[in-house]
Each structure stands twice: as C-alpha cells, then as structure tokens.
Amino acid sequence: MTMPRFRNYILLGTVALFASACESDTPTEPSTTTTSPTTVTWSGIVGPGGSLSRSFETTQAGAVTVTLTLSDAALGLGIGVPRTANGGCRLTVSQVDAAGQAVSIPAAGGSYCVQVFDDGSVVKQAAFTVQIVYP
C-alpha cells in the first residue's frame, strides 16, 4: 500500500467517524403517557359511628366520581375537601347507599377527599370497597 493511498483511507475513516457521531443528534420527542382520568380502588372497614377518608389531588378540572362497589351495610359516601386541621374530610356532597351507588361532582384542579361513614346502619363493622375516578 502506497503512502497517498494510506492517507486517503485515514481521511475516509475520519469522515465516517464524524458522520456516525452526527446520527445521534436527531432530537426525539419525549414519550407521553395518558393518565387521565385516574382510577383508584380503595377498601376499608368502618365501625359504628365511624368514618374513613382518603385524599387525592387533581391537576385539572373535571368530574370526580366515587362508586361504592362493595359494602356489608348501607354506608354514607361523599366527596369533599380535606380539613384544614386534625385530618379528615369536609364533605361537599354525600349520600347513604348500599353497594352499587355512585356520587359525582364537577371539580376544579386541587386537593380533594372521599369519605365513607356510618350513618347508623353499622352494627359491628362494615367492610367496603370504593372506586374513585378523577381527572
């Protein structure tokens, strides 16, 4: 192999090296995953006169819907805002129902809560499962 030809090979190799380095410069779109609406399943046990609440955050406006999917007794079910002190939930809407009933309300983005409570039907304790759907 003569020296000029050898130099040409070096030149071609250099060009190929930089050309391959440029391939990775193509910008790619960030992957996006649609997560709205969010569905959460929540279970618990309520004693006589007791209540349980669960908070969640919504990042956009939309309907918040809560369904009592399973319950041992008629239970109170509502949607509201977290208390400013001492925990718990202050309800905006509520109803007392057996399993299968739902409560829904339009809401702006923010902090909200769901509360399940005994309204006098629970003798010993009642197990429940609730489905929460929010934007």
Binding site: I10, L11, F18, G78, R90, L91, T92, P106, A108
Partner: protein, 145 residues
C-alpha cells in the same frame, strides 16, 4: 492541495456540522416573565343563624381571586348539607369586612365567586343568608395572587 492539507479542513467542517446546541430565536427575549403565582388558602368557620365571620389575607399583586364554599356540615356529623351561605370578598375595615363582591352559594367544588382584586389586604366573609336553622361548619377555599 494534498490530503495532509485537506484533513484539518474536513474535520473542522464536520465538527461544525455536528453542533447540536438548540438556540432560541435571535433578538431580544420578549417572552412574558410576569406570571403571577396564585396562592390557595382555606379556612373553616362555625356559623349559627344570623352570624358571619371573615378571614383576612394579603395580596402581593393585582389579579383574579376566586372563592369556593366547599362544604357545609353540622358539627359532629359527616353528611354534607346543601344549605346556601353567603360568601363575599372585601377589605377589612375596623372589626369587619367591607364587602365588594358577594354571592349566595351552595357547596360546590368549583368557585362560586370570582373577582379581580388589587394588591393589599383583603378579606373573605361567610355569613348566614337566612337559611340556617342551627349551627354549621362551613369550609372555604380561596385562591388569590
């Protein structure tokens, strides 16, 4: 020109062609930097027939404010009441709140009162509008600049 002379030139051209920095439009940046941060606050008020109470807050810049009557319940009870209550925006005067905007609202999770307010000290008032028959706890959420 021989190969030895061509090589640095080619490398310089290729390195320049690989510049992956993303530059914005040239010229003065005219994008708005005056976005106002909105603050969300909340409070609970115990009200009986004919009563009112207010909560004062400071506003750093003029802008939109919203007030939401989020909940009305009886003390010690979880169940929600649909009882309407007056909610209002105003400015503290003496020991009261001089109302500038008000509405009679039932509990909701979307704002029932919207107003544009100036910087300074303002107040949110909740009051019985004649519908209360006993004591209730009202939960108020408000957003301001």
């Amino acid at each position: 020109m021989n190969t030895k002379r061509q090589l640095p030139l080619l490398i310089a051209l290729l390195v320049g062609g690989c510049d992956d920095s993303i530059s914005g439009p040239s010229g003065t940046d005219t994008s708005s930097t005056s976005t106002t941060t909105l603050i969300t606050e909340s409070f609970e008020a115990t009200l009986a027939r004919g009563e009112s109470t207010f909560y004062s807050f400071s506003v750093s810049a003029a802008g939109p404010a919203t007030v939401t009557l989020a909940s009305v319940v009886q003390p010690g009870k979880a169940a929600a009441l649909a009882t309407p209550i007056q909610i209002a925006l105003g400015t503290p005067v003496g020991e009261g709140c001089a109302i500038t905007d008000s509405v009679e609202a039932s509990p909701s999770l979307t704002p029932q009162l919207t107003a544009t307010i100036t910087s300074g000290i303002h107040c949110v008032q909740v009051a019985d509008s004649g519908q209360l028959t006993g004591q209730v706890i009202a939960s108020i959420r408000f957003v301001h600049p």
